[in-house]
Symmetry: C2
């Protein structure tokens, strides 16, 4: 990933994770995330209340069935010369290694005050890892 792409991604507080359901329908939700190196995105199942009380969240179920995901980072501005986005393609899985999981939680806490100071991240959270293999960028990615 180019340096300016990485900078743009890190400047975004939020991303959107898109997956495909077993029936072939799209699914998309806003996510908090952290970058590790240039090709790994972590996003946790945090303690915000969930829409569903189902045991397995849709995003997890989708990933287990089809690991191809998209993570979208974008910027809106009233000045349309400032518009830009990066659409990342990757393979998603659930982090199983406890050490990696701890590392991901640390990165997430570093990025989000709310994870550090409030009770939004469980001790040992489930973390989705996205291994980036490709991306498309558009528009103005310059960060001030």
């Amino acid at each position: 990933m180019l340096k300016k792409v990485e900078e743009f991604i890190l400047s975004r507080p939020l991303a959107r994770l898109s997956t495909v359901t077993p029936a072939g329908l799209p699914h998309s939700i806003p996510i908090c995330f952290a970058l590790s190196g240039l090709d790994t995105i972590y996003t946790p199942i945090d303690s915000k209340p969930k829409t569903s009380s189902k045991k397995t969240l849709t995003r997890i179920n989708n990933i287990v069935n089809n690991d191809e995901v998209v993570v979208l980072f974008d910027r809106y501005s009233e000045d349309w010369n400032e518009l830009g986005y990066v659409m990342v393609r990757g393979k998603a899985s659930i982090v199983q290694n406890q050490r990696e999981n701890l590392g991901a939680a640390t990165l997430l806490k570093k990025r989000y005050r709310q994870y550090r100071e409030q009770n939004y991240l469980p001790e040992d959270p489930t973390v989705i890892e996205v291994k980036v293999y490709d991306y498309t960028s558009w528009g103005n990615l310059r960060c001030k």
Copy 2:
């Protein structure tokens, strides 16, 4: 769609359109949009430069192959009590009727100064119509 869901959607300057490629991969991009009534979302192929010079845009190609789409409307805030989103499921198609197309362009111009005052919308734009059949909402949708 409930009134408060509609208000939340209209308060968002941008949405994200997720589709599925013929190979079953997710695809997602930021979009400008307008609402018509409670169950129709319009988004134009506008004159912003495109990533690809291919004759058919990925989103169009995907929709022709699989009309199931998701449109995501979300709000981020430093105060996580303000977080919220609406994920809309719908069937997408290209508006063919010229009168409807003109109506969609008028709605888009009403919402976006940039379409009214700058050269971002062609005279007779291609417009994607999403007929909403379901939605999921989460978090705080209150608009001040």
